[in-house]
Amino acid sequence: MTILVIARHTFKEAVRDRILYLLLFFSALSIVLARVMAVLTVGDRVKVVKDVGLASIAFFGALMAILIGTGLVYKEIEKRTIFTLISKPIRRVEFLLGKYLGLIWTLAVMLTAMTAIYLVVVFLHTFTVEFRMVLAVLFIFFELILLTAVAILFSSFSTPILSSLFALSFYLIGHFSWSLETLINKTPPGTRRTLLKVLYAVLPDLENFNIKTEVVQNLPLPAGLWLGALGYSVIYTAFVLILAVWIFRRRDFI
């Protein structure tokens, strides 16, 4: 109950933040401009519209999660609003989870808005709407669930600028860590291979949530793919949130 009250308040806070609308505007612009890019491109124009649109949703969704998520907890501490909030009958864990759920709620609304614009643009170009495109957005949402937890984790002990840099690094590492898998396959068995495997297990693999190529190129999706992505997102998110709560419960609000 308390978590939901804080989540609702966080949603209200986020939707009254101008930066959210700025990002939504640029994402809409980017999705619409995909059509212009398609005209200028040699090749399958439909694929360009679909691909650039999905990439815009993923990129601006991630920016929203990082830029708003990293400021959420820090702002409460910096502006000392947390003093009155923590003096109310709420536990610190409820505060942090409420903030997290509020941002997830905001991102879900923003993703829905971006997807609606995207589907309209694709429909105007092809006169069809495919369920697979919505599935690709759902995978992006799984990724944002994790990315938001990471932003909240950094926000619970660091400044927004540093937290944004950390979270952005996490995002970039997450999208390039798949190359470690190739390296593992090429490394002979031994200590080096084991170390690489440990590193690959610890680092996030955000490519688990990227099915844009399959959707755009009309490639078959492996069975149980969405279950695997959801499971990966939930387990990794739970781990990051437990870490955030552990740090947040121990700190003094000076």
Partner: protein, 305 residues
């Protein structure tokens, strides 16, 4: 009557910064706040008043010692259910209106919608911000923020209210209104702990006082026990008598426009001064016996430290 708050030998050292420099802010603070009293917590800037309050609210963890709020840990939500708190220089959510802000906090106490609307209307009237109720908090003046802050501290109808510098940022009229609200809380059977730099405010409304200096409580007790009724000296403003004649009885602090302000240390000399004035055909403008004030005790305590 039982104790609402009990602190025993609370110690706290802050270690801020990348390379921590330990700073001991509380060096064994102990005091109790009994049910139904107004407890004044005094101290110069940086003495440890706000740090003590943060320990009581669970915002900061003490290194050692114990704190019991309604007999429970300060982290226990059941203890906080009966607590109201107004921080020093309150900052609230700028994007919320006064009414939305109070509604949000009321929801944290699981107050139902109809009851919330009723309580909010009553509190907005009590702290006199009804006209600004639907204005965003970013447009509030400092005094208005202080008032809405007091309203949020009372939203759960608490039995114990902690107010950190509640009279700061208010004009004299506003200070009187808030003082009256605090006295009204005591009359309603609530317990109040409040800190203030303005000693007259504490003297006017507190039953019990503790003075903290450099992280240690140096003086505490009932105000009536701390402040003696004994007359320290008498100030007499006299006109029509030469100051050289008056100086026999004490010091002439000032002489202006034919009027002398005489400070008479001995009570027995006061009738003699009056006789002299009558004899010389002079006039008494005022006669004020000065008893010990909280300010005297405070200055003395800080100076001793």
């Amino acid at each position: 009557m039982g104790n609402v708050l009990e602190l025993r030998d609370v110690k706290k050292t802050y270690k801020p910064g990348f390379i921590p420099k330990p700073k001991e802010v509380l060096k064994g603070v102990s005091f109790t706040v009994a049910e139904g009293e107004i407890f004044g917590y005094l101290g110069p800037n940086g003495a440890g008043k706000t740090s003590t309050i943060k320990c009581v609210l669970g915002l900061v963890y003490p290194d050692s010692g114990s704190i019991a709020l309604f007999g429970r840990s300060p982290l226990d939500p059941r203890a906080k259910d009966k607590l109201g708190f107004l921080p020093e220089n309150p900052y609230f959510y700028e994007y919320l209106t006064g009414r939305e802000f109070l509604d949000f906090y009321a929801q944290l106490f699981r107050v139902d919608k109809a009851e919330r609307a009723e309580r909010i209307a009553h509190l907005l009237k009590l702290v006199d911000v009804e006209r600004a109720a639907d204005m965003p908090l970013r447009k509030y003046s400092r005094g208005m923020l202080q008032r809405i802050g007091l309203a949020q501290a009372l939203i759960n109808e608490p039995s114990f209210v902690v107010l950190d510098e509640p009279l700061g940022g208010l004009d004299p009229l506003g200070r009187k209104e808030i003082r009256d609200i605090i006295l009204g809380l005591r009359d309603a059977g609530k317990t109040v702990l409040f800190t203030s730099h303005i000693l007259q405010d504490i003297e006017m409304i507190c039953d019990h006082v503790a003075i903290i200096v450099q992280g240690r409580i140096l003086n505490q007790g009932r105000l009536s026990e701390l402040v003696s009724e004994k007359v320290l000296f008498t100030e007499i403003a006299v006109a029509g008598v030469a100051d050289t004649d008056l100086e026999v009885f004490g010091d002439c602090v000032s002489v202006r426009d034919g009027m002398a302000l005489l400070k008479v240390p001995e009570e027995a000399d006061v009738p003699k001064v009056l006789d002299l004035v009558r004899e010389r055909g002079g006039r008494i403008h005022s006669l004020i016996p000065r008893t010990q004030t909280l300010e005297d005790i405070f200055v003395d305590t800080v100076a001793r430290q």
